[in-house]
């Protein structure tokens, strides 16, 4: 789309590239998650030449259509205490928040993978059961999305497409989830060490139409 005439050349160029503004200097130099490096290297022309040709607008490693992949950290993780207050006899509950405001309205989600890692507070912890619900408010949790066994130290992955993030529609500005841990036989609790969302979207404006050779 042509950029407005009032824009400077750099801003106009960035808009053509699908970036409304130049990202400022990086707020925190957080490490690049391994999955993002893997996806990037898969797309690297040097490595792509070795294997099969890559399909445009397709994320092979995740097996879905898409041309934008975002690794979105839980925006509440840094402000949350490492040992949250717990109600008597129960493990703590967490609210995780994912800021999706940078996603353009034209983008359609094709994968929304929640990634969580819980760490044990003591060595004899065998694991827990984790339930994930949409966050409604502090007193009235929303509907439960999933309930899964959660061993300590293992990266848990759950697809939220069709539940917390609607398919074939614009993504919401934020996704808020309530996590609660149900202790196993040892009754020892754990702490939430990592929470992120891997969001794959397809922006049809960036997908080329098949070209016909003359």
């Amino acid at each position: 789309a042509p950029a407005p005439a009032s824009m400077g050349p750099a801003a106009a160029l960035l808009q053509v590239l699908g970036l409304p503004e130049a990202p400022r200097s990086v707020p925190t130099h957080r490490p690049v998650p391994p999955v993002m490096w893997r996806l990037f290297r898969r797309r690297d022309p040097q490595e792509a030449r070795v294997g099969r040709p890559l399909r445009p607008c397709h994320v092979e490693e995740l097996g879905v259509a898409g041309n934008i992949v975002r690794h979105i950290p839980d925006s509440g993780l840094s402000s949350r205490p490492a040992q949250p207050a717990r109600t008597s006899g129960l493990c703590p509950e967490w609210t995780v928040v994912f800021d999706l405001s940078n996603v353009e309205p034209t983008e359609r989600p094709t994968r929304a993978r929640l990634e969580l890692r819980l760490e044990a507070e003591s060595e004899d912890t065998g694991g827990w059961e984790l339930s994930v619900a949409l966050w409604a408010d502090a007193e009235h949790p929303g509907p439960e999305l999933l309930r899964v066994p959660a061993p300590p130290g293992v990266l848990l992955r759950a697809d939220l497409l069709g539940t917390a993030v609607a398919a074939n529609a614009s993504v919401p500005c934020t996704v808020r989830l309530a996590l609660s841990l149900h202790p196993g036989a040892t009754a020892a609790c754990g702490r939430l060490a990592e929470a992120s969302l891997l969001l794959v979207t397809l922006d049809p404006r960036l997908c080329p139409l098949p070209r016909l050779r003359r």
């Binding site: 690049v32 993002m36 445009p56 690794h71 979105i72 800021d99 960036l206």
Partner: protein, 120 residues
């Protein structure tokens, strides 16, 4: 980092020239994680006959370009010169970067690298 530009004399036949885009030089290195740059390349050269009519292996020239080159050779007209040397085949790149919300984003961009030039 481009090839040295030919300022005097014939530019040569239309073909792909090397152009390396460095994200540091354009000031994007603070938020672009990878790659640090890429070979974007560009097209430069004349599209006069017989170069406009490519042999086997090269991209086929547009009929319009051939006739325009013929017309230009036969009766040069000011303002309507020979065909233009432009990208014929391009390939994509992927860019890994931080956005303003500290998200790590991988974006796939089509048509970023000129692989082949032709006369149009």
């Amino acid at each position: 980092h481009t090839e040295p530009r030919v300022e005097v004399g014939p530019v040569g036949t239309c073909r792909t020239r090397r152009l390396h885009v460095s994200f540091r030089e354009v000031g994007w290195h603070r938020w672009v994680i990878a790659p640090r740059g890429f070979l974007a390349n560009f097209c430069q050269g004349t599209c006069a006959l017989p170069e406009t009519l490519r042999g086997p292996g090269g991209p086929p020239a547009l009929n319009h370009a051939v006739l325009r080159a013929l017309m230009h050779a036969a009766a040069p007209t000011p303002g309507a010169g020979s065909p233009c040397c432009v990208p014929e085949r391009l390939s994509p790149i992927s860019v890994l970067f931080f956005d303003n919300s500290d998200n790590v984003v991988l974006r796939h961009y089509e048509d970023m690298v000129v692989d082949e030039c032709g006369c149009r």
